[in-house]
Amino acid sequence: MSDRLLRTGDIARHCGVTTETVVSWIKSGKLAACSTPGGRYRISARDCVQFLREYKMPVPEEWIAGDQYADRVTAEEKSRMDQLVLPKASMAALVAALKKTYRVFGPTRRGRSTAFDEIEDPADLQLDYTSTILPPKKFVLPPKEKLLDFNIKTGEAREPEQDDKPVAILGIHPCDMQGILRLDFAFSRGHAEASYLDRREKMLFIGTSCNPDEYCFCDAVGTNKFDEGFDLFLSDIGQSYLVDILTERGRDVISGLEMQPVTDIDLYEAFKARERCADHPGRKLVPKASTLALLAKDCEDLDLWEELGERCLACGTCNLVCPTCYCFDVRDELALDLKTGERSRFWDSCQLDEFAEVAGGESFREKRANRQKHRFNRKFRYMAGEYGAPFCVGCGRCSRQCVADIDIVEIANDLEKAVADL
């Protein structure tokens, strides 16, 4: 398939501006373009049409008709093709389609950060983000979750009913999707937990490609996977998204939307968008992910852990923001009538003093150094051994948000160095 290419002059003439202005649109990211080997900008007719529509400017007929193929795919094509293009201008239509069946959650601006929130107005969606404060694990494992309603007088107890409307997450990154898959593993093995699995089964995941920062290291732990766990994956190709349809449930979502066929340029741009996760600034994980388990084992007795213990404040932030931490505490709360009440579970942290305490007051992990060691071992050795891949997904949240600036990549690199020095 090919797409007609326009020059900056073509667009400038149509819009009544100078070519310099068009170049400034390209440089500011408003208009997608590629360049020839000689450094001249070329803009695909389709990207230009979407740009004009977005800014509500008139569109010349010949640019729309200029494609060899129809601008839109047919319903029949949508039912069998696994890759299609969705213009960014159609995000509102996507959200509307989702809202018919799901409660829609996506990344939104929260102060200077990003956080997953319920999307009522599609304009609130902040899909161009690196990371959120809390990972989307809060949707599969709520920070507070009721386990039972009970009545002390009658002795009766009941498990709560599940919510009616299932949840769709729009704009989840591969690292966070891999985090959810690891939680699925934790709640399926051994005693499978029905409430987690029932809620999880109904959820829809639409992934988007990421803009990593210096804390990210998903590629080092192999979690930059674009086809696992998602129902749809959206790769950012400028004015549009290349949509990979990965499940039939995902296909149902786009069945009512106007989609476009994929061109070679689209495929290339999508590839570049995904490659951003492999090639980004900042610290790199020095040891290979496959060696981390053995590294942790060899470093059991190093002083390095003592130093970390000194710096750590045992605040538990690292566990709260981690996509694969799921330890919880269980507590009963009475209503004011002192007859009825709830038994609920709450996110807990192995870094907190009381976590390993038994009746009588003895703690089996009293030193902070040992708790830091436990966290590292759990992510790269214990759970990794059970799951078959590191349990840490490389999202960088713990390092990004640690009050004491403890950085999990630095820990791994220091361990590697310490072993080399031995």
């Binding site: 386990l147 039972l148 009970f150 009545n151 002390i152 002795g155 107890a157 009941r158 498990e159 699925d184 934790a186 709640f187 399926s188 093995r189 051994g190 005693h191 499978a192 937990e193 029905a194 699995l197 999880r200 089964e201 059991e300 799921y326 330890c327 919880f328 505490d329 269980v330 507590r331 009963d332 009475l334 009440g341 038994r343 579970r345 807990d348 192995c350 976590f355 390993a356 305490e357 038994v358 009746a359 009588g360 003895e362 089996f364 992990r365 040992n370 436990h374 071992n377 050795r381 214990y382 051994g385």
Partner: protein, 282 residues
């Protein structure tokens, strides 16, 4: 996304307790009571010696308690509880006829098959006698399946000895070598004084034919293990039961972790050989 096969029947509703009635309460010592319980629906607990249950009292929460009775004694099961916290304190105030909730049984108990035809050296330190009693009575109820039975029990003072009626029965049982010690005696105490390891020095078990089953507080293990090693015991002939903070009982909440294992799933009973190298075990 498929849901894996459930392991045991109780995994359906993991957190919903089953009601059980307290049919008998006996004060054993100043701080410990023995509760006899029956499920309201008449079912058996169907446990292995060494397993535990989560006792639920709405408003207080739950606490993990080892089952102290043998599964050979049907119709009811027994929990020996020390009043150590808010839930166990509340439990002590419950009269006969009250109902509480039970989840379980959970965990890996003593391997009664593996111990068949072996000589058994039971070592109970203090409250460790509580889960050990479940196995001892199981063995005595199936006496022909097992070899020599030696029971060593140590408590801090004579007042803290648990199950005194049964201790007498074990002492009088000709097929059992029962020895008891206290750390400090009182005026009435005629028996042995000294820590539990002093009892181990007096026995001569055949290390190839004997399995040692030791249960007690963390501090006890260090010395008992040294004592057993000095008697040439193999690591894999030593069975221990380790206490951790079990909350959910189903391997999810994470509180009972010893390094890579969940005590509520892979324990609380362990073969010493399999956990001796875990830094957080002892």
């Amino acid at each position: 996304m498929a849901v894996e096969e459930r392991d045991c029947g109780c995994a359906e509703k993991l957190y919903l307790p089953r009601p059980a009635k307290i049919t008998k309460v006996r004060q054993l010592t100043a701080t410990e009571k023995l509760f006899e319980l029956e499920f309201e629906d008449g079912s058996e607990l169907d446990h292995q010696p060494g397993q535990f249950v989560e006792v639920s009292i709405f408003g207080y929460g739950e606490a993990p308690i080892s089952v102290s009775s043998s599964p050979t004694r049907k119709g009811s099961f027994e929990l020996c509880v020390r009043a150590a916290g808010s839930l166990t304190g509340a439990m002590h105030k419950l009269p006969e006829g009250s109902t509480l909730g039970i989840r379980g049984p959970f965990g890996k108990g003593f391997d009664t098959e593996q111990l068949k035809d072996k000589d058994l050296l039971f070592i109970g330190g203090g409250i460790g006698i509580v889960p050990l009693r479940s196995l001892i009575n199981y063995v005595l109820d199936n006496r022909g399946d097992y070899g020599k039975v030696t029971i060593l029990y140590g408590a801090k003072t004579p007042d803290e000895l648990l199950f005194v009626d049964e201790l007498k029965a074990w002492e009088e049982n000709p097929s059992v070598d029962y020895r008891v010690t206290v750390d400090t005696g009182d005026d009435a105490w005629q028996g042995h004084t000294g820590v539990i390891t002093t009892l181990i020095t007096d026995v001569q078990p055949d290390p190839d034919a004997t399995y040692a089953v030791a249960v007690g507080p963390p501090i006890m293990y260090k010395f008992v293990l040294l004592s057993l090693k000095s008697k040439d015991f193999h690591d894999d002939h030593i069975i221990v039961s380790l206490e951790r903070r079990m909350k959910c009982g189903v391997g999810k909440c994470g509180h009972c972790q010893i390094n890579s294992i969940y005590v509520c799933q892979d324990g609380p009973v362990f073969n010493y050989a399999e956990i001796k190298d875990f830094p957080e075990a002892f």
